[in-house]
Symmetry: C2
């Protein structure tokens, strides 16, 4: 059974929704969870819950918490007993197969990189985000692990994203594009041009530059970008979905016909909402570290936590890191 | 009467929709238009149109066209008789008060910068985009004029965006934020930290770092970013709006109740569509050049062209450039 260490104190609604998500996950999937955080608090929270299989959850005490706004490196160094540090240590010691946190992203990235180390051939980890598009899903890498990468790191993102798409999303030789301001090879900064050359010479199925519009059109499976652009893109996408939903709701509720129309078409709106709901996609894998680490959104709800645990289980079972290492070796041989 | 030179050959659907937009603009607003492009073609196109005031449109012959994918600087240098070059020359000569093109953005930026020059105190032009948010509109600058700026250019964008928001969108002392990966001062690359310091020391109403989510939340009026990030953000925003509309339509049309609900709530959907429709906002001003230049989306429809001409008229009438120059001088005195 796959064992997942979960940062019970990570996210805006921790530990309540994290525990709800964990209980739902052990109900639905064949997983064991180490719940990491202050044991008294977690015991009290678990005691409030309805019947669940107690043999599948173990509390691991951690008496420090990394706050959302703390500088990551300093927090990892100073708060040795934080839920993030102890959760990652469970992976390092081989007790857990994977770690999930919806807490301070930078701290999770920093802690995982320092404690677990990187895979052979990978110099920087990258956060991969799966987003729905018109025909399926796109994977964006990096969504913010590394905001000042070198062109070589973008090549490694392409390789890792490609391996992940193939193993987890089940498409052989997924297309890989470089997020740029235009499609022509000559577009973008010197940095982008260098990354383009590296990707073109690599073994991935590189289709050239793609634009912001291609993320949702489905023209490209794996979209490579630096962590700064990826992070902004992700936050813009979430924000605009919410804004559009708000405008639509406001208009529909502004008239009796709108309300009636809404009531009649309610199942359609529900299915629509499910399609654009980030929590369906759960957490984002931190690729490149020597272990399975899933990063959750700060606003993760119980469903997002449950889905993140499911993703962790799948990644472990499908040996995503072996696949990345193999691809990286091929690349090294080629270079 | 404000005179606008319009690149009749710019955009994916030129010259047809450009001419439609121009005719609608002269019907609605007190403007005169120089229609720039191959005169035979334009004469034939104008002849097809229904009655309009011929004294308000003058064809100016230009026999070359800059293609959408051409490298901008080379196109401006080589195609001296392009509709972009000739349109901008009309401004330079003082015949036209403003120039609008939905053609090759890079070429319009390059041509305007070379021919018209920059305002005192401004070192790089920036494209400003107005987007709807939950409480009003946000202005993003730069949306792609300059993809590799220096921190000082971001300061100048803040200043120009602030002046534009105040003059055209009518809010005194608009808030200015720096688009970053987190709100804390310590976030982002060295480049971002330098830009932060410059903005903080400036006369604009700087509120610090903002995130991708703030563009649509309405937390900030003017959002400053480099042209690479701004361009990606803009294209992502458009793309996700379309994707969401597609998902919603698909769901509503998938059942009889959905269709019925849609029919009942139709006026609501129409108002909703109007709110998120880019063409309502028309073109984007190129700020910093010594003239009024409006950049249109390649996919501009007639309404977008009409609205862009309206924006050009407003910019001319409200003396936006004088306001920018004044602000820039204050900044120079302060620095």
């Amino acid at each position: 059974m796959v064992k997942v260490a979960v940062d019970a104190m990570g996210g805006d609604y921790a530990p309540k929704v994290v525990i709800e998500g964990v209980i739902e996950a052990i109900r639905r999937f064949d997983v064991f969870v180490y719940l990491v955080g202050p044991s008294d608090l977690l015991k009290a929270e678990l005691a409030k819950r309805k019947k669940f299989d107690h043999s599948r959850v173990e509390i691991v005490h951690a008496d420090e918490i990394v706050e959302m706004c703390e500088p990551p490196a300093a927090a990892i160094r100073k708060k040795r007993n934080s839920s993030i540090n102890i959760g990652i240590s469970l992976c390092k010691e081989g007790k857990a197969d994977a770690f999930f946190s919806a807490g301070n992203t930078g701290a999770a990235v920093c802690g995982a990189t320092l404690k677990l180390g990187l895979l052979e051939g990978i110099e920087r980890p990258g956060i991969a985000i799966v987003l729905p598009n018109l025909v399926g899903v796109s994977l964006i890498i990096d969504a913010g692990a590394n905001i000042d990468p070198k062109p070589m790191h973008l090549l490694q993102y392409g390789l890792m994203g490609s391996a992940y798409y193939e193993q987890i999303l089940g498409k052989a030789k997924p297309s890989v594009g470089l997020l740029n301001v235009g499609e022509e090879e000559s577009k973008g900064t010197e940095f982008m041009k260098e990354a383009y050359q590296l990707l073109e010479q690599s073994s991935v199925n590189f289709i050239g530059n793609v634009e912001g519009k291609d993320i949702f059109s489905g023209n490209c499976d794996v979209i490579v970008c630096d962590g700064f652009v990826g992070n902004v893109t992700l936050k813009v996408s979430e924000s605009i979905s919410e804004t559009i939903a708000y405008f639509l709701r406001k208009e529909l509720l502004s008239s009796i016909w709108g309300k009636l129309g809404y009531l009649l078409a309610r199942p359609c709106f529900k299915r629509f909402k499910k399609q654009i709901d980030y929590s369906e996609y759960g957490g984002a894998p931190l690729l490149g570290v020597d272990g399975v680490v899933i990063i959750g959104h700060g606003r993760s709800n119980a469903k997002a936590v449950m889905n993140a645990i499911r993703f962790a289980k799948e990644e472990v079972e499908r040996h995503i890191n072996e696949s990345i290492t193999e691809q990286a070796k091929k690349l090294l041989v080629k270079a």
